[in-house]
Every structure is written in C-alpha cells, then in structure tokens.
C-alpha cells in the first residue's frame, strides 16, 4: 500500500511522547464509544437473562406475582427433572436425534462436496438445488413434509413406497410412535444438508491442488484419494461442521412443534419442546428454566468432548 511499516513511535516529531499518549487516549475513548450500543444491548438481552435463568432454576415462583413471592428452593427443580418422564423421554429423543442426524448429515455432505468439487458438470446449479431447503423456513417445509408423509397408504410418499417399491405395510410416519422420530430425522437431514455441503465444498476448493496432482500421477483411485487425502486434510472443517450440527441438533424445536407437538405419546418430545411446554402450557417458569439449563449443560458437555477429540486427532 506504499505506507510501509510505520508505527506510532517511529513517527518523527518533537512532542512525540505527548502526541502518542493523546492518540492512545483518543483510541481508548473511541473503542468504548463504538462498543457501547452493543454492550448495553448484550447486557440487557443476553447476559442478564442468562444470570436470571440460572437463578430461576433454583427458585419456585409464579411470574404473574411480584418478585417478593420468589422462594429459594435449592436443587429441588433439578431433583424433579430426573424423575420427570417427559424429560427422560426428551433427553433420549434428543440423543437419538443427534447421534443419527449428525453422522448421516456430515457423511452425505462430505461425499456430495467431494463429488461436486471434481466430478460434475453444472456444479453451481446442483449446489443451489441441494442448498435450497436450508434457506426455507422450517415451519413451511414442515407443513409440506407433514402432508408428503401422510400416514395412509395413499399419502404421496407412501403411495410411491407401495406402488413402486412394493412395500406392503407403509409406515404411519408422524402418527406412529416408532416412525415419528425417524420422519423428523429424515426431514432434519434434508433441510440442513446443503449448508454443510456448501461449507465443506468451500474448504475442499481451498485445498492445495498439487496434492491431487500427485495422487493422480501415483495412480490413486478417486476413492483412495477421498479417504487418504481429502478427509484428513479437511479434518478441521469436518470438526467445525460436526460441532455446529451437534449444537444445533440439540436445539431442535420448530418442526416438532409444527408436526407432532412431541407426540405420539412422548415419542418426539425434545428438551426445547419441554421448556416450551412447561413454561407456556403449565406456566411453571422456574421448572422450565431448570430444563433450559439442562439443555445448556448437555450442549456444553458435547461441544467440549468434541473439542477434546479434535485436539487428539489433529494434534
């Protein structure tokens, strides 16, 4: 840029020290002035609510009444959590969802990204088509899927299953406690796949080309190249996707509240759904806060474990 490596102290001038300290004071003031709007809002809308939520979990209180009615009850809410059948089911469903949704999404996304990178024509169009679901609201697409997976034999997907694939007893999807969560998982993978494809593809494109040339010269097959070169070199990006997908998968709510509201029975109840249920159907705000804290603890544990694994694997 033609300005070289000038720094504050190398500038020539007689009252150098004085000028530097004025500049520093100006910078100090500017730094705080630029940050102040964000700082105030972040405190009001993020930090105070987090602290409040933490406190609410240890109290018993009806929010319609004044703050003086608030009663400290220690770990009572958390003790109740463990014997709550809704919560037990929610944790189990959340874990099932995450442990199937994450590996499938990332594996399929990785495969698609690798193919899109080198082996196709019309890359932009294909990428766009795969990404399309991700920009659509979960509420709208959940509405569509609810009808697509209509439980009777003449529902659109089921009619394909019976007529084309000769399935005699097509699943009852969202009305069956065995299939509801599977339907939710399929829809989740379909909705988010494009996001991970796009991220992984951007990272693959940024990999050094010469490694691939070397592979081609050494006669490595595309499959060998994929597992021995692409996957290891992409490890940081893959970990990023896995972590993000894991964190987001625990927050699943929109599609469940639209399609099943946690049912049939408790077969698709998840933690966020339970928070919503206890807070806004039963008006047990403090108990719902304890559920929300449980969600936080689970997400925190999972992201730390993933970070630990990443350190082990990628030095």
């Amino acid at each position: 840029m033609g300005l070289g490596n000038q720094s504050h102290s190398s500038k020539k001038g007689i009252p150098m020290k004085k000028k530097t300290s004025i500049l520093m004071r100006q910078e100090q003031r500017a730094g705080i002035a630029f940050l102040i709007p964000s700082l105030i809002g972040t405190t009001i809308f993020i930090i105070v609510p987090i602290v409040m939520s933490l406190m609410l979990g240890f109290t018993q209180w009806n929010p319609m009444k004044g703050f003086s009615e608030m009663k400290f009850i220690g770990l009572q809410n958390y003790k109740t959590l463990f014997s709550d059948i809704r919560i037990q089911n929610a944790v189990r469903n959340n874990l099932t969802y995450t442990l199937t949704y994450v590996p499938f999404t990332i594996a399929i996304a990785l495969l698609l990204a690798a193919i899109l990178n080198r082996f196709v024509y019309m890359r932009t169009t294909l990428r766009m088509m795969v990404f399309l679901p991700y920009v659509s609201s979960l509420v709208s697409v959940a509405t569509v899927w609810m009808v697509l997976l209509y439980p009777s034999a003449n529902g659109p997907i089921n009619s394909i299953l019976t007529h084309v694939f000769h399935v005699t007893n097509p699943p009852k999807w969202f009305t069956s406690s065995d299939w509801a969560l599977r339907g939710i998982i399929m829809m989740g993978i379909w909705h988010d796949l494009g996001y991970h494809v796009v991220i992984l593809l951007a990272n693959i494109t940024a990999l050094p080309k010469d490694v691939y040339e070397a592979c081609a010269i050494d006669g490595a097959s595309p499959i060998q190249t994929f597992f021995r070169v692409t996957v290891p070199m992409l490890a940081p990006a893959i970990f990023f996707c896995v972590t993000l997908a894991t964190i987001n998968s625990f927050k699943i709510f929109d599609q469940i509240n639209i399609i099943t509201e946690g049912g049939p029975g408790f077969s698709t109840t998840v933690l966020v759904q339970a928070v919503y249920y206890y807070a806004f159907k039963e008006f047990r705000f403090t108990y719902a806060s304890a559920v929300a804290m449980l969600l936080f603890v689970i997400i925190f544990l999972f992201s730390n474990v993933l970070q630990w694994i990443e350190k082990k694997v990628t030095f």
Partner: protein, 282 residues
Amino acid sequence: MKGYSGIMGKKQEILRIVMTVLLFCFALLCVFPFIWMISTSFKFEIDVMEFPIRIIPKNINTKNYVRVFTKSNFPRYYLNTIKVSLITVVGELMITTMAGYSFARLRFRGKNLLFTIYLATMMVPAQVMLLPKYIYFSKLHLTNTHLALILPGFFSVFGVLLMKQGFSQVPFELTEAAYIDGANHFTIFSRLILPLVKPSLMTALLLSFTWVWNDYMNPLIFISKENLITLTVGLQRFQEDSSTNYALIMSGATVSLIPILIVFVICQKFFIESFASSGIKG
C-alpha cells in the same frame, strides 16, 4: 504419453457424466418437496392424494390462491414480517459493525475481558434466555409488540464476531497514517474501512435476514395478537384453520416460501458465498 492422457481424459469424461446424472437425481430429490408443494397448491382437493403423482395438475385450480389472499391474513403477515426483518437487519448491521470494528481495530482497557465474555455467551443456547426475556418483556408491556422481536435482534454476538473477522483482515498500515494525521476515528471507520468490508457486510446481511425472516420461536412466544404475527406463526395458524384441506395448505406454504426462494435463486451466488464464509475457519 499423449495417448495415455487421452484415455484418462475419456474415462474421466464418462465418470463425470455419470456423476452429474447421479447427483442431478439426488438434487431433484432435494427440491422435490418444493415442486410437489407448488404443484399441489394448484390442484383440487380430490387430486391431492392421486397416484401416479402428477406434477402438472390434471385440472388447474387457482381458487386456493384467491382464498389465501382474500380470506386469510397473509397480506398482514407479510407486512409484519417485512417490517420486522428490515428494521432488525438494519439495526443489527449498524450495531454489530461498530462493535466488530472496536474489537478488531481499537485498543482500549478491558477489551480482552469483554471479548471473552462475548465469546462465552455464544456457548449458551438462545432458549436459555427466552424465559427471563419473556418475564421482563411482559413486565415492561413489550409482549405483543414488534419491539419484542426487533430489539433483541439488534444484539447478535455472532454478527459482532463476523464483522470483527472482516475488519481484522484490512491491513493496519492503511489506517495508521490517517490516525497520525489526526483524522477522527468515526471518519476513518465510515469513509476508509467500511467500504473495504463489503463482503462481510453482505454475509452479515444475508445471514441475519434469513434468520429473522424464518424465525418461529420468538414470534410464537412474544406475539399472540392476530394482526401482529409474522409469516411462520401465521402459516401455522392458517394450517390449523384449514384442517384437512391440503391443497389450500400447500398454497399457504407456497405463499410463505416464495419470496425467500426467489431472493435466493436470484442472489444464490451471494447467499452461498455468505453461508460458506461463515464456516471457513480463519
């Protein structure tokens, strides 16, 4: 050598065509729900569950759309969603760029501590903040106002991080001279640096627009008045009111999806670059 590469080239060409066809089928599967939705929205109820599924309806029915636009509140939901999204995105961009600039390029006491606090809040899921926010919004009589959706949207920690990353990529040499010559910090920020981070601004804009437009949980919790709700909750109510009239429900879903799909298809390059850059580790 030449022949060898010729064979390889031909083999690769076949592989490429096969892969393209395979991937195209897969991509069709990805967009099938949308095609089916649009097609069904033009069908008569009796044709919805027909087999084989017709993509071009046998009898075209536009009455569904007439009903959506005249007998439902969709026009109102639209206005509300547009209002909330625009104000939120503009406010958020202003506040997060300033904060990002401060964290990236200015030195002041307590910066590292504040930044650590910002980062730490990212670990906490938004659902944890929801109930306390509801409690004090209702004490302040902010529930059932659009402010309840707009105000918290201004303060996105993710947006601050995104802008900070953008600003720190601008070389520092560029601004040193201007500082020493006594230009004030706001001039440098708005005239010199802001034009250089347009890609980051674009990313922040598209990510936050998509997020606010599609948001369901906040409107669900903070807004209950029919004339204030946004598209997502509006579609849910519309669907509940239409019970089993699936063709009608699909036209509601189409109407709720069309704007963002059109914006996406037109600006797909920007969208995809934006979402991709949110995930490149830097």
